[in-house]
Amino acid sequence: AQSVTQLDSHVSVSEGTPVLLRCNYSSSYSPSLFWYVQHPNKGLQLLLKYTSAATLVKGINGFEAEFKKSETSFHLTKPSAHMSDAAEYFCVVSKSSGDKLTFGTGTRLAVRP
């Protein structure tokens, strides 16, 4: 069985300041981990994915995430928030061999001017 826990349901940052969205996972297998973003009234878009290659993964729009096996974490970061980053972010886990995707409950990111 696998699951993810997103530790914050809401995060608010000022434009230009760093973003940290936290995610912890639980998996019986070597997992694949993803971050998806959902903008209002838009579909889900893949930000980045980890599939047992480099532990620091770079994604689109300046986001990156680091896989830390010892901490079972896969936190999403961005050095400087932009207004357009305001959205819902989902941490997702799957078996590395391919299986259903298990979503976290989401973190809503607000960016203040």
């Binding site: 998806y36 579909g43 878009q45 989902f90 995707l101 298990t102 979503f103 409950t105």
Partner: protein, 113 residues
């Protein structure tokens, strides 16, 4: 088409009626997923098809829900005797065999009145 296509985009139905939701995956994608997203909540796994293997139906909430897939193409999610709690956005996604990256459609917004 280039992406996952879902129809209809919006559906309003009366309580007790049956509804069918359609998903056209990306051509060549062997895996297909259905998820449900209630207002303000995360994604709830419903069912997963992978090639010719038996589908993973572990997420279907009741026997009123069923899904079929014809080969590696179109899938239909059927909800019988709809209830108000079935109101949600139903999302479909597809992925290539051996690749856990899933591409999502825009969803069908179902409203049961």
């Amino acid at each position: 088409g280039a992406g996952v296509s879902q129809s209809p985009s919006n559906k309003v139905t009366e309580k007790g009626k049956d509804v069918e939701l359609r998903c056209d995956p990306i051509s060549g994608h062997t895996a297909l997923y259905w998820y449900r997203q209630r207002l303000g909540q995360g994604l709830e796994f419903l069912i997963y098809f992978q090639g010719n293997s038996a589908p993973d139906k572990s997420g279907l909430p009741s026997d009123r829900f069923s899904a079929e897939r014809t080969g590696e193409s179109v899938s239909t999610l059927t909800i019988q005797r709809t209830q108000q709690e079935d109101s949600a956005v139903y999302l479909c996604a597809s992925s290539r065999q051996g690749d856990t990256e899933a591409f999502f459609g825009q969803g069908t917004r179902l409203t049961v009145v």
